[in-house]
């Protein structure tokens, strides 16, 4: 019997999973846009994005646009690879759960 895959704990959190999934479909996204799309609070969103940044899955850029601060997030290649592997692991686990 094949061994069941481990799920990446960094991605497994619902909000972190939602954030990575959102970032996979855009070139870059602003903090406020991510907040609006996930319905999260500033504090929780900031904490989860920091975890993703520490794991090397997103990069952050802070800049000023018309004198207003903007925090821009981009998904890294490592983040894309990790999400792909996570989805594959999820599908394998789901497959084995159905077979049981």
């Amino acid at each position: 019997m094949p061994e069941l895959p481990e799920l990446n704990p960094v991605i497994h959190g619902k909000l972190r999973l939602a954030l990575l999934s959102l970032l996979t479909s855009v070139v870059e996204a602003e903090f406020t846009w991510l907040r609006a799309r996930t319905g999260s609070t500033d504090g929780n969103l900031g904490a989860q994005l920091t975890k993703l940044e520490e794991a090397g899955y997103v990069v952050v850029e802070k800049k000023f646009v018309q004198r207003k601060p903007q925090t821009i997030y981009r998904m890294t290649e490592a983040g894309r690879k990790a999400l792909t592997e996570y989805v594959q692991a999820l599908k394998r686990l789901l497959g084995s759960a159905i077979e049981m």
Partner: protein, 206 residues
């Protein structure tokens, strides 16, 4: 970890990934207000150009369409710039935006030229406007895989065909119905569905 993870939880996570990817791709849905704005602008232009001829308070009905369209265009740019600053850049977003910008420029160039040369009548004007709106809605609907917008395109294409026949009064009726469903109702639907999705997201991640 997966020992404690139920099959339903795994499926929920797959659904979450799918919905969030779709959310990022469909950020143009936040532009529902533009459909509403332009729908109202068309109604104002029609009312000004038509009934304004008989009412002194309106006056200058020959400039009704150019003035209304320019005001709507400026409002779209100003409001859109404010809202769009927080929107992320996507290839899909750029593709959809380029379709609507190209269509807008085509209209702004073509109709004043046709009008000043006198080589357009009401029927061909409505047919051309409706065909262009149909093409733009269909193209962005197909890019976004959004059936409602493709349905909106079908409304406009139907208006375009029907506008080639019938009396002037019938033409006006068809155009008003087209604006109502293709702009006003569609715009309100988009705004409501956008607000509902935000609420659902808030609940899902609470």
């Amino acid at each position: 970890m997966q020992d404690q993870t139920s099959a339903q939880d795994l499926k929920d996570r797959l659904d979450l990934i799918e919905s969030m990817i779709a959310e990022g791709r469909r950020n143009t849905e936040s532009w529902g207000w533009t459909f509403l704005l332009w729908g109202v602008a068309y109604y104002v232009a029609i009312a000004w150009a038509g009934w304004g001829q008989h009412a002194s308070i309106w006056g200058h009905s020959h400039v009704a369409w150019p003035v209304t369209m320019i005001v709507a265009f400026v409002l779209t740019i100003v409001i859109g710039f404010g809202k769009g600053r927080a929107q992320p850049g996507t290839t899909v977003g750029r593709a959809v935006a380029s379709i609507w910008i190209s269509m807008g420029i085509s209209m702004l160039l073509l109709f004043p030229a046709l009008s000043s040369s006198g080589r357009i009548d009401q029927h061909s004007f409505v047919a051309s406007v409706a065909a262009m709106l149909g093409a733009a809605n269909a193209a962005s609907g197909m890019i976004l895989k959004w059936k409602m917008q493709v349905a909106c395109a079908l409304v406009w294409w139907s208006v375009s065909v029907v506008a080639c026949f019938g009396s002037d009064a019938q033409l006006m009726g068809v155009f008003l119905v087209g604006i109502f469903f293709g702009q006003i109702i569609f715009g309100i639907y988009v705004m409501i569905s956008d607000a509902q999705r935000h609420k659902q997201n808030a609940v899902a991640h609470a």
